[in-house]
Amino acid sequence: MKTREEIFNILKQEFPQDVLEFQNIPTEPIITVNPLAIHRVCLFLRETAGLEFDTLMCLSGVDDANGEKTNDPDGSVTIKGGTLSVYYHLHSMKLDHKVTLRVSTPREDPEAESVESIWKCADWHEREAYDMIGIIFLHHPDLRRILMPYDWDAGYPLRKDYKNPEFYQGMKVPY
């Protein structure tokens, strides 16, 4: 069993370029990773003796809404710049330790590498993050919408500046 600080030090040594930051938040320490290297970091976490993260407990997309906000005349908000993030909660069944990873991608070009090849359960989690937040997971085998209809073209509903469409297939959407 290792503390998160120890895990961060091991990662920093192995990936000095791609493991960016360690935030020692008391409730949940977070390690920030380069979005285009997350698959390499994750494979290392799974395969290395003493780490052995065999379980991806959860993969969540988050709209940080830290860009430049402009208020539109109709009361809605448009956000430019800032980041969209993905959080990975890992657990080792064998060694009973946990770690939280984060990748932050630019809002205008939200691309992160897929970890589907490392933990199969990431398949649907990544599809959900794509469906709701709009993060593109590179090298995902089947990146389609999972909850919204396949022909939904009004954007990603859990973004903070999402705007409801007026109609979907002839059905009025707003109340």
Binding site: M148, P149, P157, Y162, Y168, Q169, M171, V173, P174
Partner: protein
Amino acid sequence: MKSLLDQEFTDGNIVIAKTEDLLNWARLSSLWQLGFGLACCAIEMMATSASHYDFDRFGVIPRPSPRQADIIIISGTVTLKMATRIKRLFEQMPEPKYIISMGSCSNCGGPYWQHGYHVLKGIDRVIPVDVYVPGCPPRPEALLEGLLKLQEKVRNESLVKKTL
């Protein structure tokens, strides 16, 4: 008006009734429902079908196919994705067909009326509703009353005149 079986008969072998009344009585006494549950309201609908409330005593039996169903009870939150399916199921049901909208979600969107990006704000935007049952979710008694209201509607129908 008393229903057919409640009326007194002087002769045991002959029942005299208007064709309309007979047909309406037959139809309202066996409103087979399309087994269609969507959310928590479906739990109450199933409770209504179970022995304690016994939907079957009103002739309501769940059918697995829209071809054999007379009513569809929209019991729960209707997402935009499901709405297109509901419309198709409704179109597959043979006439005459009826719709009970059960619960706040299918009546008007319910708690999802403002921020429910995926929720249809009332099933009546897609198919014509006969009876709205309010509640979140409605008790089985409320659904039973909704069915009685629908039976009342069927009882007053006419073969030649369209009733509203």
